[in-house]
């Protein structure tokens, strides 16, 4: 038994996760000392629910980062898919159709990103950044300044409902976590995605269809964004044109804090969940300490730069 623990402790992946868990615990302890409002069941469940929403977006993004790419359009994708789903639901009155159109919209956007990256060979940050603004534009145009709200109760259940006292998004997040982990660790696709990110040339030479795997990750990223948009919509119970505007930076921050490398080939789904948890805890802590909401993007920006910096230092230490 002790041997097993020792062995586990020696793997860098375990160390990474362990270190990040420690950060979560430290933040929790500090916040509970700072304010009484933090360590309540309500607030903790709230944090978990927020982190779940963030994780849903970030899970697909993790796959993209594993291939050394990035998807800057996830936030805008969530916004657009949510609005499409809202329009579909209110105009047809069918929850199922809303579901399908939201996810379908996300997947279509993913296909677009994938084509730009594989077919036009654009750097992923440019392709998806252009996509971000195109989606914002289309979403604003579609909504034309209006707000859609008041969705069916059965639909809102997935975002704001409770099952055995635990918010439903947490169950959805768990499903994603388990599914995503199995996909990345044990499926041939997952292994090939890691290979593409670690070294595209050697991946290609060893028979991995690089372009098809790249296509796959952008589509999956679009799909998870589409799914996240539904949970998000159900939670907010209203859709506006600017719904996805401030979601991109947190999603990227969550993935990076979670130990997924910007340079590809390194990272886990569980790490991203911890990353989402850390970011949510920080933002939640700022919130209940009544720090001005304007500071949130500042903190997120600093966290993004810092986590890439730490990743680089760690990599250099390993390689030397």
């Amino acid at each position: 038994m002790t041997n097993l623990i020792k062995e586990l402790g020696n793997t860098t992946q375990f160390k990474n996760i362990f270190f990040r868990m420690l950060v979560v615990i430290i933040i929790c302890i500090v916040l509970s000392f700072l304010t009484e409002a933090f360590f309540t069941t309500n607030n903790l469940l709230n944090v978990l629910r927020q982190a779940s929403l963030l994780f849903l977006m970030a899970s697909g993004l993790t796959l993209v980062l594993l291939t050394a790419g990035i998807d800057l359009s996830v936030g805008a994708n969530v916004g657009m898919s949510a609005c499409v789903a809202a329009v579909a639901m209110t105009s047809t009155g069918s929850t199922l159709l809303g579901f399908l159109s939201g996810i379908g919209c996300g997947i279509l956007i993913g296909v677009g990103n994938g084509l730009l990256v594989t077919f036009l060979r654009l750097p992923s940050f440019i392709a998806t950044y252009g996509m971000l603004w195109i989606l914002h534009g289309l979403t604003y145009y579609m909504m034309a300044g209006t707000t859609i709200n008041g969705f069916d109760k059965s639909f809102r259940f997935i975002g704001s409902g409770y099952l055995y006292g635990i918010p439903v998004p947490i169950y959805i997040m768990s499903l994603f976590l388990i599914g995503g982990s199995i996909f990345t660790k044990y499926s041939i696709y997952g292994q090939q995605i890691y290979a593409v990110g670690a070294n595209p040339l050697s991946a290609r030479l060893s028979g991995v269809p690089v372009n098809r795997r790249l296509m796959l990750v952008y589509i999956l990223s679009g799909m998870t964004a589409g799914l996240a948009s539904l949970v998000f919509l159900a939670r907010l119970n209203s859709a506006e044109g600017d719904i996805g505007e401030n979601l991109t930076l947190p999603a990227i921050a969550a993935v990076l804090i979670g130990g997924t490398s910007l340079f590809g080939g390194v990272g886990t789904m569980f790490g991203t969940l911890i990353g989402a948890l850390i970011l949510t805890l920080v933002l939640n802590g700022m919130n209940i300490l009544t720090i001005d909401g304007n500071y949130q993007a500042l903190v997120t920006g600093i966290i993004i730069i810092l986590s890439v910096f730490l990743d680089l230092i760690f990599r250099r230490k390993v390689s030397s």
């Binding site: 289309l138 145009y141 930076l249 500071y295 903190v299 997120t300 730069i305 890439v308 680089l312």
Partner: protein, 319 residues
């Protein structure tokens, strides 16, 4: 695509070879909009396009250099906003125009240096550094203004913006001077040669004993300075400081540079192409406005413009 990093071909021939892409799009835009709208080719509207393109040109010029060094500056729109807010803040507090201009440019310079230093010394990917900086600048602009508009900036700055010299609005002169400076900087100074080389072959530059890092940081510093300068025009145009004024403008700038024929590989840059690219984007926005297309769709059409430019580029590379 060309293989040599530093372009030793005849510049005139080189220009002619690249001209078609962006010139074609410019021509198509002009023809289409002059058919769709009778006001399009009027003198006031043409002047209007010129004035509206000044800020975009000022940030697209350094963006060309940044992209030539295989980098990107995503923070430029947010930085422009932040600098504008700083200028408005000092104007409102002191009514001292030179001080406000100085402060705005200093803030731009500091952020630009910070971007450059992190990218160059830490060897971090430019897009993620400047993306983080985007969040930081956006946040700082909101913090300085507390989310409000700073409106008591006095009349001087607005009057200067609307002033005319020989019948041409003052901002256009600023834009032309900026272009001349950047053109000279890129093609007639050692700095410019190094900019070409950093994107093409950074290592050989280093082996030649040149302090590459300083020049590389300099490119980002220039970007910051120009954001500071352009922010004065922004504040003057709106006669106020608004915390979300130029959010997303980096997209227009990147689009103008790409449409202008500067590519992300091997230090291939073309300053005049950027100039034409800025005018194309300006005409597209203006024309769509005249035709009555919403600004939200304008953004999408600029994305389409970039796509067409890239496809044309790919097509030419094959020929």
């Amino acid at each position: 695509m060309r293989d040599s990093a530093i372009n030793l071909e005849n510049p005139l021939l080189n220009s002619l070879k690249r001209l078609p892409g962006v010139a074609l799009m410019l021509l198509v835009c002009i023809v289409v909009f002059s058919i769709l709208s009778s006001d399009f080719l009027s003198i006031p509207n043409i002047t209007n396009i010129g004035v509206q393109s000044t800020i975009l040109l000022m940030i697209s010029l350094p963006m060309t250099m940044v992209i030539m060094t295989e980098g990107i500056d995503m923070s430029i729109g947010a930085l422009l906003t932040f600098c504008g807010v700083i200028a408005a803040y000092f104007l409102a507090q002191t009514q001292n125009l030179p001080l406000s201009i100085f402060m705005a440019i200093m803030v731009g310079l500091v952020v630009g240096l910070l971007n450059g230093a992190i990218i160059v010394y830490m060897k971090m990917p430019p897009f993620v550094v400047t993306l983080g900086m985007l969040g930081i600048c956006q946040s700082l602009a909101l913090i300085v203004t507390d989310g409000q508009t700073i409106s008591n900036v006095g009349d001087t700055i607005g009057l200067a913006y609307n002033a005319k010299l020989l019948g041409i609005p003052l901002p256009i002169y600023f834009a032309l001077v900026s272009y001349a400076i950047f053109h000279a900087l890129l093609y007639h100074t050692r700095f410019g040669t190094y900019v070409f080389a950093i994107g093409g072959n950074r290592d050989s530059l280093k082996l030649a004993g040149i302090r590459v890092n300083i020049y590389h940081i300099g490119v980002y510093a220039l970007s910051g300075i120009m954001a500071g300068v352009a922010s004065i025009l922004l504040t003057a145009r709106m006669n106020s400081g608004h915390p979300t004024a130029a959010i997303g403008m980096e997209f227009d700038a990147i689009a103008a540079v790409i449409v202008g024929g500067t590519s992300f590989e091997k230090g291939n840059g073309w300053m005049f192409g950027t100039f034409l690219g800025v005018i194309t984007v300006g005409i597209l926005r203006n024309g769509l406005n005249l035709v009555g297309v919403q600004s939200s769709i304008q953004v999408a059409s600029i994305g389409l413009l970039v796509l067409v430019a890239l496809l044309l580029d790919g097509f030419k590379a094959k020929v």
